[in-house]
Amino acid sequence: MKSGAQNRLPSITRLSDFPRDEAVYVGTIRSPVSRGSIVSMSLPHLPRDYRSITADDIPGARVMAAQGARVPVLASGRVSYRGEPVALIVGPDKRKVAEAIALTRVRVEEEPADYSFESCDSSRVVASDSLESGQVEAALKSAARIIEGDYRVGPQDHYYSEPQGSAAAFDYDKLVVFSSTQWPFHVRDSVAATLGVGKNEVIVRPTILGAHLDGKLWYPSLLACHAALASMLCGRPALLLLTRPEDFLYTTKRSPILASYRAGLDESGRLVAIDARIMINAGAYAPFAQELASRSVRSATGGYACPNVRISARAVRTDLPPMGAFVGLGTGPMNFAIERLVEDCAAAHELDPSEWRSANAAARGDATLGASLKRAVPYDALATRLLAISDYPRKRSSFELIRKRRADPSTAPGYGIGLAFGHQMAASTFGRDGADVPSVEVTLSKDSTLTIRTSMSPGSRSTMDIWKKSAAASLGLQPSSVLIQEPSTDAVPDSGPGTLSRNVSVVTKLIETACAGLASKRFREALPITVKKALRARSSKAAPESPLEDASWGSAVVELELDPVDGLPAVRGIWLVVKAGRILSNDAVIRAMKHDAAAALGLCLGEHLDLSHGPADLDALRRYHLPRIKDAPKIVVDFLDDDTDPRGIGELAYALIPPAFANALSQALDLPWNTLPLGNFDHPFGDR
């Protein structure tokens, strides 16, 4: 590739440290409206060394592939959400770039925008999935009791440690892209396609991710395309770093979900039918929509057995910024829905919520989700430990007495304790046309150093420690002899994205398998020896497997109290018990779970964003209340002994805490609370 410039390649760990000396800054001109056709764009006079970039300047593909979606690199013709990138302004002084952007006018023939997703015509449904077994209508007709509910989980911002961005610079004939990404090879392929060059002419050097909550899967690729275009067209290093407001307003959010359930129960309170309709707001272009719909369906019955099931999920395109993954894809919100539903089921039969769960937990051989379960879900084992450490039965009885005996039924009882049970699915692939296969390569050198190569960035030091310990134990090495190769695309195999669900469960197992393969060759072949292992895709001829198979399981209790003055819930304590296979580093896992549990409270309380009437504004950012250290309650984490392979826990707390919180709040308010995050909570007995 001809660059017109040769640069000394910077070595950086954070995008914000990219050297500014010779770099140009990249600013984004955005659509001022949510939907319409671009009529014209008027730019101010740009000084020398400054230039604009539009779709017409793109030498390669103008559209980027993003998990089933086709996202314009720069919009031309039409715009599909407010803030969509329309053009770039590039220059050496970031203030002048910002001034030029402020003076640019994009005229758009505006069309009525549609932000709704809870009901819509089929033209906006971009993905769907369904599951049906048994005779749902007949079972509902003959059920002793029907429980219904609408459960809503709102959008949420990832609020990354570092806002999204990218930098690009030429190293002789290669373009090196720096990107804080979970998926370096998606960045590489997207940039190469946009520039119209071969994949090998682009090298992606991932910078550290920080806390990302699975929000850096595909969007970094779009920004990388912008930075790469700027660098190539200007012949200089280019830096694009969004400010926090830009990141908050225009990048991906968690997909809001509405789950409407009808559950049929027999005389004893046992589930006989579930009829669920799931609507998903996928935003503009709808990346990951199919994955969201499919995972939502597969999570809709939680860990419970039900002989008659009908579940449908539809992902709906709206004129909002693209939505997508947030600590998994759809499973957390669905666990909120099913765990609120089962609480209502238990209440309707005046059963203890834990006893109801125990009676309805899926047993070995259960086929609620199509395939027969090989092992029973471990509710009873988890509950035995959890109820003991949280004192749930006694506290719940006490709070029930307060609720029933309060003198004034128009006031809230004020105390609540809630239980939730749930799982994190075993990680699966969600690749580019099925080509994404998690893989790991290990090399044992002559000096007995083991190098692990994978592009699935571990994201945290403790995960890296787990990988090192695991590899060292397999080969009888010291962990200090194990190196993890920086996941630059020219140094590691294409191994798909790193996600919170994959990093421990998939990669650790692959490392162990690769090391076992290496051990068998170690004394028979000359060093260095390299072994590569990839996750084997399930054969289409293989017997179907339940989505609950090989899942991590957990149960949580949240205790809260309403403030007598402002009525706001204050969480007093969180207890979590987890069964997730062999624990490779006890302290690290407990710290991680405590971190996740505290962070998950944000999903319950102040991380509220209302996009039902349009995209977020700066006031929404100011009102967006993130949990602080002082907000954290006491958190107790325990694990059940389990000798099976290690499984992921990165999503568990986010699936368990919100429903446990809502169940506690429902008791404290004496009314069912079916929407999270709470957001404005001025009048507990007013309109929600």
Binding site: S161, I208, L209, R244, P245, S460, I629
Partner: protein, 161 residues
């Protein structure tokens, strides 16, 4: 305008717009990479520094405000004994920071070691809450700062109930 102030123990002078954010001035013109220009609204605390001994969000401080003042950023704090105490305590507690908030977290913790009175848990929680980052594990942070205070001020830490 020309602004004279003391930065990390050295007299400095620079021409700047009076209302330029101190965080951007220090990062862009003095190359202090510890200061993250993140929220620009005093929310995240990733740009905190000591201005005349007080912990401030430098994104909310206009440049003219620092005339004649003493500014200590993480780059200056890094060479102090308090820094060593704090980083050791965080390491021993197993705290895993993300690489973006470390400087601000350590400075906030270090400011507690300079308190005239022994900080309580409430003081620790309030001060450490001035830095927001999704990577923090609250109980680990609290434990680390308690240990840092214990090792600096001696005696058993009086845990609040």
């Amino acid at each position: 305008m020309t602004i004279d102030f003391i930065l990390n123990g050295e007299d400095v002078s620079i021409k700047a717009e009076p209302l330029e954010r101190l965080s951007e001035l220090l990062r862009d013109r003095f190359g202090l990479s510890s200061l993250m220009s993140d929220c620009l609204d005093g929310i995240c605390g990733k740009c905190i520094l000591l201005l005349d001994g007080r912990l401030v969000n430098s994104c909310l401080v206009p440049a003219f405000k620092v005339r004649g003042s003493e500014v200590i950023s993480y780059e200056g704090f890094r060479s102090t004994e308090a820094h060593e105490t704090v980083t050791r305590a965080f390491k021993e507690a197993g705290a895993e920071l993300c690489g973006f908030c470390d400087a601000a977290v350590f400075m906030a913790a270090g400011s507690l070691l300079e308190s005239a009175e022994r900080p309580t848990d409430t003081d620790i929680n309030e001060t450490m809450s001035s830095v927001y980052c999704r990577c923090a594990t609250p109980s680990v942070t609290l434990g680390a700062v308690r240990n840092a205070i214990e090792s600096t001020m001696g005696g058993k830490y009086n845990r609040a109930r």
